[in-house]
Amino acid sequence: MKHLITATSLSLLVMASGPAFAQTPSAASAYPVAPAAGLFDALGQKAGIRSLMDDFALRLKADARIGNQFKETNLAQLASQLTDQVCQLAGGPCVYKGPDMKEAHANMDVTRAHFNALVEVLQQSMDARSVPFARQNQLLALLAPMHRDVVNAR
């Protein structure tokens, strides 16, 4: 029984992780994880992503924990860049042309807690736009690895 459980847990780990790293890297992205099938459409294509990001940018600025970081930010420009980035990552016909994530956050002190707060704000936006939970996680899985470049402070 114990050997079976050990073997099962190991196989589970290998199987479950298989789809996550057996993807063909997309040259344009620094985070080469293939999007889940149908994600771009589920987010309402580019127009849907733009509405989501308009809402997200507003909420970011209003957030008590991290709003300060966006005090001087041009929200329309932020929403536009995020739209291109998310559209591309989700498998849509867009090309993100903005700065890379390290550069984009070089002038901010972003802690892991800030990063988590941002994820929560994005979850709020997705909830407000009735994005199903499974689709939310598929999008977050594309964005979460950015913590390596975004988080730059303790």
């Binding site: 029984m1 114990k2 847990s9 479950a16 996550a20 994880v33 807690a113 303790r154």
Partner: protein, 316 residues
């Protein structure tokens, strides 16, 4: 429950002291946990105090604190099986999402077994001091790799003196012992599935409630490596369901046979099916159906100890 539960005041006092101390630490720490971890990603409190599932510790650091923050998680849990009752309470402090220190107290009501041993009302009380160190990885955000979060932990368990001391001594079981474990936790974010595997080196009988090792009828006193597995499906960001399995050593069986009890002290592996709900960052509620296998089948008709487990955790 025919008997009221007695949770002796001293462990609660101790837990309170831990919490007070932690609150003081929090107050001193400018970067306190008002932002913190994402919901459910710190796990809940195990019956032994470490963060994880209900039965098995995970590689996550307890409390709501993210890197650079301090967090505390305090819990009270209750399991009622067909022949026994267990109350557990304690707290864990997570420091910088790197180190976890925990204290857990368990009060095990032996009910009919105590009576059969001529010790009616016997409660076995155990204290568990734990420490966990995150070695590598991040269970949540490294969603483009297979790399899990990995932690090593230690649990020192001490059974308080009770009417069972003479019996344990006759069986050759020690009243204290130390478990060491290695855990790997991975959230497969796109799939919404969390998997934890733990390997525990232990000599504990029924988690330490019946001591550690045995020597009667031939020494069975060494460490054994026990696998533990938890799988959780995230249904919403505040709701998860899953199952756990925890392998248990069976060191008392031979001693029991030598004492003329046949298989009367046999132990089985533990498992559960759980649902965990986190309505806020400060509160988690867990309910589970547990099967702890046979526990002293000599006095319980060989029954499987199935029952209900409930736990409430406060985090700040």
């Amino acid at each position: 429950m025919p008997h009221a539960t007695h949770c002796s005041p001293s462990p609660l006092k101790r837990a309170l002291a831990v919490i007070t101390l932690s609150a003081a630490t929090l107050a001193l720490n400018s970067a306190h946990a008002d932002t913190g971890k994402l919901l459910l990603t710190g796990g809940v409190s195990t019956v032994e105090g470490a963060a994880g599932g209900g039965l098995s510790p995970w590689a996550v650091i307890g409390g709501p604190g993210a890197a650079g923050e301090t967090g505390v998680a305090a819990y009270v849990s209750r399991a009622v099986t067909r022949d026994y009752g267990l109350t557990a309470a304690g707290a864990a402090i997570g420091l910088n999402d790197r180190v976890e220190l925990s204290f857990g107290h368990q009060d095990f009501n032996t009910r009919a077994t105590g009576t059969a041993l001529g010790l009616p009302g016997l409660h076995l009380k155990q204290d568990v001091l734990g420490a966990k160190w995150r070695l590598a990885g991040d269970a949540v955000v490294d969603s483009d790799t297979w790399m899990p979060q990995i932690a090593v932990g230690v649990q020192h368990k001490r059974l308080r003196s009770s009417g069972l001391d003479g019996t344990l001594s006759a069986l050759g079981a020690d009243r204290s012992g130390t478990d060491v474990y290695l855990s790997a936790t991975k959230l497969f974010l796109a799939q919404g599935v969390l998997v934890n595997g733990t390997l525990r080196a232990t000599r504990a009988n029924q988690g330490g409630l019946l001591g550690h090792g045995a020597t009667l009828g031939g020494t069975d006193d060494g460490y054994e490596l026990m696998p533990e597995l938890s799988v959780a499906w995230l249904l919403r960001k505040d709701l998860a369901v899953g199952f756990e399995y925890r392998g248990m050593p069976n060191k008392l069986q031979r001693a029991g046979a030598a004492a003329g009890l046949g298989n009367g002290l046999r132990a089985d592996d533990w498992m559960d099916l759980f649902v965990a709900w986190t309505p806020s960052k400060n509160l988690s509620l867990t309910a589970a159906w547990v099967n702890l296998g046979r526990i002293v089948p000599a006095t319980t008709g060989g029954r499987q100890q199935t029952g209900l487990y409930t736990s409430v955790q406060f985090a700040f």
